[in-house]
């Protein structure tokens, strides 16, 4: 097919893993010592057949990977750390060779595996733009042509003739990303480079990436842990796990099953959280434990969109005032304030000082996909008795109305909830 730009056939990459605590490189003395040992073993192996070399083992970072990429497609690659995502990009960009298989690529490949590769701290911003551009494969005339755009994108006009070692880290990554973003190849391989700079700049980067994919019609392979970015940028996704393709197809399907799988692994989710004793030093009255349940009374912290859930709060210690109020705040994992609920202000409910347990019904959850953290406060009038920040967290998956390709900016909202005391 003429519009297939990348055709990968049965790629595999084998690494040899040493079991001993080796440095990544070998020292000549080790080789000499090993050779001597091996010689010794060969001599004695007639007596002892068990002394085989077991110090290293083959490890397949990728195995049986086959896929096709068509012209203009933007493909997201997701998976755990060590799933083989970066190795795949390294093979496609020819940094390392595959052990097996064959890849056919039509068109020029540019790869952005790291932001600021080849930046030299002693050189000025201007010099680094040229150097970095050349390393990424741009010609001098091409860089000259794009120079002003790069500088404007990075917002470093004033500091062009300052060595980058004197840049703030934000300026540094902005400049680095700007150079890389102006690389014009037909195929672009991108590895987790969007997570740089402040929120504003990240949005700018995301926008730039969108332009590359949609407006310029270039083919992009994109590795990221930010599922949000994958959803926004890619139409198709590949889920890798320990070197194999688990699932491949439309982004929303692949990402959904990935999220389900990831969140179900037990260590990730804990629906009962106990307070650490270090948190409650010098406090007389505080929250001791949080428990989260779904509407079927099962402990969980994974909910779908429009689900409701229940939180039980257990109190410890002696309350000094006669009654107290409970407040909760839900934050997005990125730190943005999402919504809140307060017992006294919104419901005129205060709890007696001997209340030991409170139930909060929260929902339906009108929140987009992702992880959320809940913070709690106990209040007596204007006085704060206890604050427990990021006490527990929950995940929203399968958020259909928001499984769109654009971010929906939501204001802080008060969601439907009720409070009542439990005897």
């Amino acid at each position: 097919m003429s519009d297939t730009v990348i055709k990968a056939d049965n790629i595999g990459k084998k690494y040899r893993v040493a079991h001993k605590k080796h440095a990544p490189y070998t020292a000549l003395r080790d080789v000499v010592a090993e050779k001597a040992k091996a010689l010794g073993q060969r001599i004695f192996s007639t007596f002892n057949t068990l002394s085989r070399d077991s110090s290293s083992e083959d490890f397949w970072a990728l195995k049986n990977i086959s896929f096709d990429v068509k012209q203009g497609e933007c493909i997201g690659i997701i998976g755990h750390n060590g799933a083989g995502k970066s190795t795949l990009l390294k093979i496609l960009s020819r940094i390392t060779e595959p052990t097996t298989g064959r890849i056919r690529i039509n068109g020029l490949v540019g790869s952005l595996l790291e932001v600021g590769t080849g930046f030299h701290p002693e050189l000025t911003g201007r010099e680094n733009i040229f150097l970095n551009g050349a390393i990424l494969g741009m010609s001098k005339s091409e860089i000259k042509l794009k120079f002003d755009k790069i500088v404007a994108f990075a917002e470093v006009e004033k500091f062009l003739d300052t060595p980058v070692k004197r840049y703030s880290s934000g300026m540094y990554v902005r400049l680095a990303f700007a150079v890389a973003a102006h690389l014009e190849t037909e195929i672009l391989l991108v590895d987790e480079v969007l997570a740089v700079g402040d929120i504003e700049f990240q949005k700018k980067c995301l926008g730039k990436m969108q332009d590359i994919g949609e407006k310029e019609g270039r083919t992009v392979l994109f590795v990221s842990h930010q599922l949000f970015a994958i959803r926004t940028l890619c139409q198709k996704a590949v889920w890798l796990d320990s070197g194999h393709i688990v699932k491949m197809g439309p982004t929303f399907e692949v990402v959904r099953s990935y999220e389900k799988k990831v969140l179900q692994s037990p260590e990730k989710s804990s629906s009962i959280v106990k307070r650490r004793s270090a948190d409650v030093k010098n406090k007389t009255f505080y929250i001791g434990q949080i428990e989260m349940l779904d509407t079927k009374d099962e402990n969980t912290n994974i909910f779908s969109y429009k689900n409701s859930f229940v939180i039980f709060i257990d109190f410890l210690g002696e309350c000094e005032s006669n009654n107290f109020a409970v407040e909760f705040r839900i934050y997005k994992d990125s730190g943005e304030y999402a919504c809140t609920g307060v017992s006294n202000l919104l419901h005129d409910i205060s709890f007696q000082k001997d209340t030991k347990r409170v139930r909060i019904d929260i929902g339906p959850l009108i929140l987009t996909n992702g992880k959320y953290n809940i913070s709690f406060r106990l209040l007596a009038g204007m006085r704060i008795l206890d604050i427990w920040n990021d006490a527990c967290s929950f995940h929203i998956i399968e958020c259909h109305p928001f499984a769109l390709r654009r971010e929906i900016k939501r204001p802080v909202c008060v969601i439907q909830h009720t409070f009542c005391a439990v005897e």
Partner: protein, 283 residues
């Protein structure tokens, strides 16, 4: 600014990635990345003299001082013969290729390790890196050449037609520097021991190569053995071209040295190409 034509042209480039199959594209890639040679060399030169008070003058001062020391020790104290040429010129004619060689070796040995970040994150023909190191040393070589011209003017010493052979000799010293550099840089990726061996080699080499003295000092029966050091042939060649007629080349030795240089260069190229594909995994 990619036009349709551009895309058309580029699309004709089909790339096949397979184990053990980099050979075909390699030399084409090397040409495509030709600007990178320049940029990496430019970076190294720029960086070397950043934040120094006298800047590029170091490139002139260092060989000049070395020449002074060698002239005093070998010429004045040990009273080695220098033929009809002034001793400083005899020393300097040899120091040009020697410093080029030793600088290349030092720069090359750490070049790949020093650019580990690049190697593991970006593709380009790895040959670019050690070659740029040699180019950097070559710039130093040219600057030193200016001192030689100054010295010759000072002593009112005129070269003969033999000076025309100099470009060829420079090419040979390039081959020697490049060949050894390739070996050392590639070996250093896997065996870091070489970074300790090289400074020793360079220091040692200054004394076993005929830098501070003419190679005619060496007894005739040892000359062939002495020429096993490939730099002996290169240095003799330089002296032959720059100094006056009384320098005679010891032909068997010169041929031996030249074949060794050729061997070093081709072998270095072969070894580098062989190990290059694993650099990103090992470094």
């Amino acid at each position: 600014m990619t036009t349709k034509q551009d895309i058309q042209r580029r699309s004709e480039r089909e790339l096949i990635i397979e184990a053990g199959r980099t050979e075909k594209q390699y030399w084409k890639d090397l040409w495509n990345y030709r600007e990178l040679f320049y940029f990496l060399a430019w970076r190294d030169i720029l960086v070397r003299y950043k934040q120094t008070a006298i800047g590029i003058a170091w490139a002139i001062l260092r060989p000049f001082l070395t020449m002074l020391v060698l002239t005093i020790i070998f010429g004045k104290l040990a009273r080695f013969p220098s033929g009809s040429a002034p001793y400083p010129i005899l020393v300097f004619a040899a120091m040009l290729p020697w410093q080029f060689f030793s600088n290349s070796l030092t720069e090359c040995s750490n070049s790949l390790i020093g650019n580990a970040g690049l190697i593991s994150k970006v593709y380009f023909p790895r040959l670019v890196i050690p070659t740029s190191s040699v180019i950097v040393s070559f710039v130093d070589f040219l600057l030193s050449g200016a001192i030689l011209l100054g010295l010759m003017a000072w002593y009112n010493f005129w070269p003969t037609w033999r000076i025309l052979a100099l470009p060829l000799l420079i090419l040979i010293s390039f081959g020697a520097a490049m060949g050894t550099g390739l070996w050392i840089s590639a070996m250093n990726v896997k065996y870091r021991d070489f970074r300790y061996i090289v400074p020793f080699l360079v220091q040692f080499g200054l004394y076993i190569s005929p830098v501070g003295f003419a190679s005619s000092v060496v007894p005739e029966k040892w000359r062939l053995l002495y020429s096993i050091n490939p730099m002996v042939g290169v240095i003799d060649g330089f002296r032959w071209a720059i100094l006056s007629k009384d320098v005679v080349i010891y032909v068997p030795g010169f041929i031996l040295s030249m074949s060794l240089v050729t061997f070093l260069f081709l072998g270095g190229m072969w070894y580098f190409r062989k190990t290059e594909r694993t650099f990103a995994d090992v470094i």
